[in-house]
Every structure is written in structure tokens, then in C-alpha cells.
Symmetry: C2
Subunit: 120 residues, 2 copies
């Protein structure tokens, strides 16, 4: 994929360091389930805003990665927010199909057993 | 704070690289709201499991940080899960008081305006 997009000065001003990769959380807009965490650079965030389709930066492939471009399991963006110190992003999405490459709905399907003080 | 805790071999085996800092998402166990993203090292994850209180690694202060230790806005851990490739963590928590130091319930309160293809 070769596309080009730029962030507006208003959006740039929300980011702590626009040169760094930013962790982006994808949350199902309807169920509230946290689906995955991936990374964005400036261009992927700009493309996400422009196209309405969640687009990340693949650290393993070193390239832009429109989620679902090959699998069909796309994420339509409902809202995008930036945290208080501008170094992480939350996307609320319409998730089409499972978010995880394993076929699970969410990537966070491996639970760590915890002692009985749960919810203290 | 000086405490010591170790991860079990079973938990270590879930992590892609236990030597790296891992982004950890805190989600309100009741409302589903995504509250914040912070980082964990091995010791903070071990303490979180052991104590049932969300404990992170502060990158700015370079120290263990039990969420709410000074503010009182603690996070009681309901569940902990690891994503499919072992490089991010999701905590479901009982959030006491606001999660954000600004007084907002969630750190993700700054919305980026998006065009009208929302939810495509």
C-alpha cells in the first residue's frame, strides 16, 4: 500500500511526540470489548482519520497496515481519542469479523490466573 | 516503594520478551470504559498478580508505581489477560475514583474530530 496523508496542526498538537510510534487500542464500539493493541505513526493516524478505516504501522513488516486489508476483518472507525499526555490512542470501531488472527474475537484471550483477592 | 516479586514460569511463557516494558490497558470491569494505558515490567506485573492492585512501571520516574498509592484512586484487579503475541496486557479493574490525574474518569477524554464516514 502506498498512500500519503498528513495530520492537521490541531491533531499534531495533541501528540506528545509525533515522531514516535504510538500504541493504539481498538475497542468494539458496540460491546465495549477491547480487541487489540497495535501501533500508529503519523501517517497511519492521518489515514485512519481520512479513510475511516483503522490503519496501523506494522513493526514487524515495517509498513502501513490497513487492518483487514487481506483478511477482510476491517475496523470502521467510530471515534478516535488521545489520552491526557498524548502518548496513546483509543479507537472505537465497528469490527467486521474477528479482530485476532487466531480467529478469536479479541486478541486478549489468554487469561493469567490470579489469586482470590480479585477486585480488591 | 521497594517490593520484590517474581513471575511464575507459566506467566513468563506467555510474554514475547519479558525484558521489555509492556503496554497495559486498564478497562473498567463494570462499565467497559477504557481508562488508561501505562507500562509494566516483570516486577510490576508480578506485584499486580500478587497484590490484586494494579501496579505499573513509571517511565518518567523510573520506579514502580502502584496506581492510586498517593491519589487514593486505586485499581482493584478483576482479571488480567495477555494478547495473542504476548506483547500487551489488558487489566479489568474496579476503579476507585477517577483514573486520570486531570479528574476525568478516563485518560482518553480528548476526541479527534473525524469526517462523516464514521463507523464505515
Amino acid at each position: 500500500m502506498r498512500m500519503s496523508a498528513n495530520l492537521s496542526p490541531e491533531v499534531l498538537a495533541l501528540l506528545k511526540d509525533p515522531k514516535l510510534l504510538i500504541p493504539a487500542i481498538a475497542q468494539d464500539a458496540h460491546t465495549g470489548e477491547v480487541l487489540m493493541l497495535a501501533y500508529m505513526n503519523q501517517e497511519s493516524l492521518a489515514l485512519t482519520i481520512e479513510t475511516g478505516r483503522a490503519t496501523y504501522w506494522s513493526r514487524s513488516r515495517n509498513e502501513l497496515w490497513e487492518k483487514g486489508a487481506t483478511s477482510g476483518n476491517t475496523q470502521g472507525v467510530v471515534s478516535i481519542s488521545v489520552d491526557c499526555d498524548g502518548d496513546s490512542i483509543l479507537l472505537k470501531v465497528n469490527q467486521h469479523g474477528p479482530a485476532c488472527h487466531t480467529g478469536e474475537q479479541s486478541c486478549f484471550h489468554r487469561v493469567i490466573p490470579t489469586p482470590s483477592h480479585k477486585g480488591a
